[in-house]
């Protein structure tokens, strides 16, 4: 029943034994103790579990771990080097876009994908892209401000880096 698969997460390859029915989110959180991605609903509605798989945002509560073997997975822990913050993270901190914070890993991962695709988004484009991420604390105003501020900072640099 169990299969040994290689999960490649944040640049590290983890051999891990899983049952075919195990969700990617559970394996990452409970077998690898990478707990940045959160479970808010289990049905793909809240976005707290969002990870990038081969650069695309997906709700990992709806993914089976076996189907992601060998693919490039990024969680919030992989957005910046240890001890550093990327522009998005820094803007979220400085503008207090974070309250309870349980939705924030999902927002940051999804917003990273947005800024890679569209480095200069309008407010409307930010709201459209992030509509799958629910936040109950902030009313979203400061989250939008933080994404716009991060985009401004990235674009203001002479040689733009990716977020």
């Amino acid at each position: 029943m169990k299969r040994l698969i290689n999960l490649r997460i944040n640049g590290v390859t983890y051999p891990v034994e899983v049952e075919p029915r195990e969700r990617l989110l559970d394996v990452v959180r409970y077998k690898l103790d990478i707990t940045g991605p959160k479970e808010g609903c289990g049905t793909g509605d809240c976005g707290a579990c969002t990870m990038l798989i081969d650069g695309k945002p997906v709700t990992s509560c709806l993914m089976l771990a076996v189907s992601t073997a060998g693919r490039e997975i990024t969680t919030v822990e992989g957005l910046a080097r240890p001890g550093e913050l990327n522009d998005l993270q820094r803007a979220f901190v400085e503008l207090t876009a974070v309250q309870c914070g349980v939705c924030i890993p999902g927002f940051l991962v999804n917003a990273t994908a947005l800024l890679r695709e569209n480095p200069n988004p309008t407010e409307e484009e930010i709201r459209a892209w992030l509509q799958g991420n629910l936040c109950r604390c902030t009313g979203y105003t400061k989250i939008v401000d933080a994404v716009m501020e991060a985009a401004r900072r990235i674009n203001a640099r002479p040689s733009p880096e990716t977020a």
Binding site: T35, G42, V93, T96, G101
Partner: protein
């Protein structure tokens, strides 16, 4: 206004970096070696007799460690849960005994080596039920033919004059509250116009994004440790102790980072089960609720049906108000029914009468949700007041200003004089920001306004502030941080002691290590814990200055604190002889000197329990556009104003205002726990809708600072009020846009469309 160095500055939250990197550990992120997973069999029926429970198949599944039912505990065994933080007491068995009274009630608990096996075992347990008639609406539950939900339900006489008076008696009553001032009958006789309506407010779930979770471990010595997500570690400690008969001193509760609570994470819910299973298995046990379990077996906000009648003169004088409230308690008492009294509001109304009833239904019990009871009560009151303004052709803001109380006026409810209130100023600030008096009437656009008051309390707490030998300031308490209060407490301590913000560390202890702290709710934390921290910081400062005087061979009176930056721009706080910088000592030096004195380290302690507070209001204005063909509504603008006393951190204040207004808007617009024959119909976030980032405009917030007499630096409690007025403001905006009053919440496109067509059919459209 005094100049502050740290207070009033938008410093980042102390927990923000951990939260944006994924490092913050929430309760479900705690994994202990050897832990087991526990799950529950919940009743699929809202009301049924349990005929048989068969666990034999589940017991055979490899990996299943333990199954608990009420029979295994001893039939009829009831546990009394006591929450000493809130003085609440609830007698309830851990599992349903013979009868289930709501869908979701726990029948059995399973413990297994993995979450998947745990789910398999839950599904393999067979329960046979005999279904009983169920009732899920209060207006049905009070009727003579309704099933009696509990033996202790009372039958009471229906108040006269209300829409349900013809029933004679109300059935299934579990709570009552009554109030009367002046003479409402005489008041109604004086009125030019009578405006009455029934306002139905649905049951909603707090919908924190993090469902309940906990991990419990029991050491061979009997020592219990619980890691959990809670608004009060001390309430969890007393709840676990009382429900399982364990001495409180044998329990340590560790509060993890909390993923939202809003009132729904105070007392025990899953915790006693994890502890009990850890006791009987000897291994750590973890429970994580699913979203569906939250919806079926959480403790949401009560719905209410409130009838309001107001007598008003054409000049705007309100002559009398009366209300009857029916509150949906679910299967146990506990709803904030006294909030029916919000028909008084912050107005000088003289003739008032209300009767409020808590009604049993076949639903889970309820708990607090941000300003418990206030959004329901204030919606009925403020929506009715807006209808009064429309009935006499008066501007709704002008009507409020004419009737609002101010400093010196006596409150109707308790005859106490008001002080340091800013009701009129707050309402006018919202009007100014929104441009209310200059607004233009556009087709299908509407504007609405409402206010919501909150009178925060206080709670006992204590804090320890230490000046460390590296010059940093450590603030230590047992208060859970849900709204940024750790940051606020740190700012208060930094201001008092005189250290730069960068040098402050705020540490939260567990129930074993931390001094007692009140629960984080009721908008009490920064008022109460802020006072405890301020007193601790002042205590520390006193010791520090005494030591400095001794060191500089002078008196405390001749010392001054200096925060000047050095050449590199670093602030090195020090104390000097007034006007003589050459005779100075840095705070870091003082902390080190203290270690070599007879007195020892520089530690300040502070305690606080209660001081009077002042009521305040949130005033909101909302602009909407409604498509008359579909009833679909777009929120164009949402403006809020609030009297905050003192904004310790403006970003945090704005965050509370924006988040609260969004929850209020959601209650008025899209949220509703829907039931059919006692079963909940929308148990997932796909059909239980809360606003997405695309549903909302940027929310505008303006705040006033009328300092509280007793709050630290003038702080008033502000977390709750912003949720209160939004539904009533929305109610008026919809009317302004369409001509229709949609009294039943939420104002879904269907309800708006139906109200419009009802108006047209009646020739009013």
């Amino acid at each position: 206004m005094a100049e502050f160095a740290v207070i009033g500055k938008p410093v980042p939250r102390v927990d923000a970096v951990d939260k944006v990197t994924g490092a913050a550990r929430y309760a479900a992120d705690v994994n202990l070696p050897g832990q087991l997973w526990a799950g529950f069999v919940h009743s699929p029926h809202p009301h049924a007799r349990i005929k048989r429970i068969d666990t034999s198949k589940a017991e055979c599944i490899p990996g299943v460690v333990k199954i608990l039912t009420q029979d295994a505990l001893g039939a009829g065994a009831t546990q009394e849960t006591i929450d000493t933080v809130h003085g609440m007491r609830l007698s309830q068995s851990l599992f349903a005994v013979e009868v289930v009274r709501y869908q979701g009630e726990k029948i059995a608990a399973v413990c297994a080596i993995s979450p998947e096996i745990c789910k398999d075992a839950v599904e393999a347990i067979e329960v046979e039920y005999e279904r009983l008639p169920a009732v899920d609406e209060v207006e049905q539950a009070i009727r003579p033919e309704a099933p009696v939900i509990r033996e202790d339900a009372k039958e009471v006489e229906a108040p006269t004059g209300c829409p349900w008076a013809n029933l004679g008696m109300f059935r299934n009553v579990c709570q009552e509250a009554h109030f009367s001032a002046g003479d409402v009958e005489a008041g109604f006789a004086e009125a030019d116009v009578i405006v009455e309506g029934i306002y139905r407010i649905p049951r909603v779930h707090q919908t924190y994004i993090e469902p309940h979770a906990c991990v419990a471990r029991v050491d061979p010595s009997g020592k219990v440790t619980v890691w959990t997500s809670t608004q009060s570690i001390f309430a969890i400690r007393s709840g676990v102790a009382s429900s399982l008969g364990i001495p409180q001193s044998n329990i340590n509760v560790v509060g993890q980072t909390i993923g939202g609570g809003f009132g729904g994470k105070f007392g025990v819910l899953v915790h006693p089960y994890a502890v009990l299973l850890a006791q009987v298995t000897g291994r750590p046990v973890k429970i994580v609720y699913s979203r569906e379990e939250e919806m079926l077996d959480g403790r949401p906000a009560p719905g209410a049906v409130i009838w309001v009648k107001t007598g008003i003169k054409r000049d705007g004088t309100v002559t009398a108000r009366q209300a009857v409230g029916l509150w949906d308690c679910g299967h146990v008492p506990g709803a904030s029914i006294y909030a029916t009294g919000r028909i008084v509001g912050v107005y000088n109304f003289k003739n008032i009468k209300y009767d409020a009833y808590g009604i049993y239904t076949n639903k889970p019990g309820t708990s607090a949700y941000r300003a418990p009871g206030a959004p329901q009560g204030s919606y009925a009151s403020e929506a009715n007041l807006n209808q009064c303004a429309a009935a006499i052709g008066m501007d709704p803001i002008a009507l409020r200003l004419q009737n609002m109380a101010q400093d010196g006026d006596q409150r109707v409810i308790d005859r106490k004089p008001l002080s340091r209130v800013a009701f009129k100023e707050t309402l006018l600030a919202a009007a100014k920001q929104a441009g209310w008096f200059e607004r233009e009437k556009k087709p299908n656009h509407g504007w609405g306004v409402a206010i919501g008051e909150w009178h925060h309390g206080a709670g006992p707490g204590s804090a320890v502030v230490t000046l460390m030998d590296d010059g940093t300031l450590k603030v230590f308490s047992g208060a859970m941080d849900i709204t940024g209060t750790d940051t606020g407490m740190g700012q208060i301590a930094a201001e008092v002691v005189g250290v730069p913000w960068e040098n402050v560390r705020v540490i939260r202890g567990d129930t074993d290590s931390a001094p007692y702290a009140t629960g984080s709710g009721g908008s009490v934390v920064l008022f109460s814990m802020g006072n405890a921290v301020k007193r601790a910081a002042e205590n520390l400062r006193e010791k520090m200055l005494a030591l400095a005087a001794q060191h500089l061979e002078t008196t405390v009176d001749s010392l001054e604190a200096v925060r000047a930056a050095d050449e590199s721009g670093r602030v090195i706080p020090r104390v000097q002889r007034r006007g003589q910088p050459e005779e100075s000592v840095t705070l870091q030096e003082l902390a080190q000197i203290a270690l070599r004195t007879t007195g020892g380290p520089l530690v300040g302690t502070g305690t606080f329990a209660s001081e009077p507070s002042h009521p305040l209001i949130s005033a909101q204005i909302v602009e909407v556009e409604v498509d008359p063909e579909t009833g679909v509504m777009e929120i164009k603008r949402l403006v809020g104003a609030l009297d905050v006393g003192r904004a310790i951190n403006p970003y945090e204040v704005e965050g509370q205002m924006q988040g609260g207004a969004t929850q209020g808007l959601s209650w008025g617009w899209m949220e509703e726990m829907q039931f059919g024959q006692g079963r909940m119909l929308n148990t997932h976030l796909s059909d239980y809708r809360i606003p997405t980032i695309q549903d909302l405009p940027a929310i505008e917030s303006v705040y006033l600072e009328v300092p509280s007499e007793h709050g630290p630096f003038g702080v008033k409690g502000i977390g709750e009020p912003p949720i209160v007025p939004t539904p009533a403001a929305l109610h008026l905006a919809i009317h302004d846009a369409t001509g229709a009053w949609v009294n039943d919440l939420p104002a879904t496109p269907e309800r708006i469309w139906r109200a419009l067509h009802r108006n047209r059919d009646e020739g009013k459209g």
